[in-house]
Symmetry: C2
Subunit: 289 residues, 2 copies
């Protein structure tokens, strides 16, 4: 059994990033993080992203707005970030408060700054199997992990648990592109059905956000298990959907939480920022301005 540490993949993505930065003549791409409200875990997440991007020789700046900002004011703030020449990519920390229309806000992000692939056109491209636009970073991170561990996908049975629009749904397209036979489980799927699908699967990807959901009884011997879930257990520690100590005894490959998908996702987001900067600037003409 192999514990698939995200660190190594993250480092190999960092090498790609540094290669791309070399062509940017000293320009340092910058992420704008949009954070609405003062929830402690959101602010902690924001700070950890900034630290991570700085470690990667990139810049990140937080734009914090009060939790009761009106939809109109919020849209105006997004327009300001679109217009800022020094911001190359925009990341919106979800969920947004209820008075804000999330899809309207996401749709306002400039296409070339939409590094999370949340605009409708980027969704549509993904749906059609065209992956040239921006794609949700977590979904890409899952594919990077599978590829790195050389998990075969063609003709294999893959179960995706959780059909969120930022992980499960884009994964359908990415997995089918690799000719995997994909089954989708979600809140409407009965326990027995999920168990039976998982037991027959060569790969189980759990993005439910439900601690302890996947135990050894769900896994075929030798399956690959990718844990996208993030929860806090009763002792206050971060944990995934997968009962790691049990599952690692049956699986061929399993990702830990923390240190698995999340670690790779940050590297993928950083690479997307560099791609975005590359789309906006013309390096042969200096700083592009």
């Amino acid at each position: 059994m192999r514990v698939l540490d995200g660190k190594e993949i993250s480092e190999s993505i960092q090498k790609q990033i540094e290669g791309d930065l070399l062509r940017m003549e000293g320009y340092v791409p910058k992420l704008g993080i949009i954070c609405v409200g003062k929830a402690a875990e959101k602010l902690a997440y924001e700070k950890s992203i900034i630290r991570n991007f700085e470690k990667r020789k990139l810049k990140a700046e937080a734009f914090e707005y009060p939790g009761d900002i009106s939809n109109e004011e919020f849209l105006a703030e997004i327009k300001k970030l679109n217009d800022r020449e020094d911001i190359d990519g925009i990341l919106v920390l979800s969920p947004l408060p209820l008075q804000l229309n999330e899809q309207e806000a996401l749709q306002l992000i400039s296409p070339e700054k939409d590094i999370e692939g949340r605009r409708i056109e980027n969704r549509g491209r993904c749906f059609l199997g065209d992956f040239t636009g921006f794609i949700p970073c977590t979904a890409i991170a899952v594919m990077e992990l599978l590829q790195y561990a050389e998990v075969p996908l063609k003709g294999r049975r893959v179960v995706v648990i959780g059909c969120g629009k930022n992980v499960g749904i884009p994964l359908i397209s990415l997995l089918m592109e690799q000719m995997a036979t994909v089954s989708m489980c979600h809140l409407g799927t009965g326990k027995e059905t999920m168990l039976s699908l998982c037991r027959e699967a060569d790969v189980v990807i759990s993005a439910a956000g439900h601690a302890g959901l996947i135990n050894a009884s769900h896994i075929k011997k030798g399956a690959a298990v990718i844990d996208v879930g993030i929860s806090i257990d009763e002792t206050g520690r971060i944990c995934g959907d997968v009962v790691f100590d049990e599952v690692k005894k049956r699986a061929s490959v399993v990702t830990p939480v923390p240190g698995g998908v999340g670690t790779v996702t940050r590297a993928v987001a950083a690479r997307a920022l560099v791609k975005a900067a590359g789309l906006r600037k013309t390096w042969s003409r200096g700083r592009g301005d």
Copy 2:
């Protein structure tokens, strides 16, 4: 066992259409059919659509272009149809010749005339589970048939065979919206895997275009079977993916070919045309011009 005839559903959709037409003060919506090349079956299909729309008290006009039309000329022709006030919806007969960039052409269709939901934004909306835009008519027809036959979907296992962007892929979103547990089979799926998934499924939807693909051994007793395939058998007759005479003995519901999904798809396309006309015109101000 129930043979699910498309005719009855098609007639009930026609009643909706006639109700909508009543509000249009005598205006008759008109479809523009784009046909490139002179392939006999394309021309036959084109004529059958025109006849069908006329029977439905709608208009349809064919726009035929030579098989060697250049991409530039073709895009210019689409722009002309966009600008024509009398054309409410545009239908492009696929496949297009290789010198034409299909997605570029589809993307040029005015959003309000894209009755087949082939623009990238309409794909993106479908992907996000927002079905307010236009959605591929065949996928909608499948859902109409399931709904009409009162086939339960919530928590049920559904297998979709064939992941084309106009049927299989939009069906994933439509079925998950109904909380079905969906598995996707395609050319990369092995025979054994497909057999095992189908045998456990409450609903099998086959859109492979492969005559005889689904026989009684694939079907759980009492399953619903929707046949989207269209092929020509060795005797020259139109047939579906499903071995109808065998499967009808095990299934609870099965659709015939011809007379099933295809019949409902035309009704759905006609309804989409009327919706498109409604979006473009303001009836309270007369003809809207």
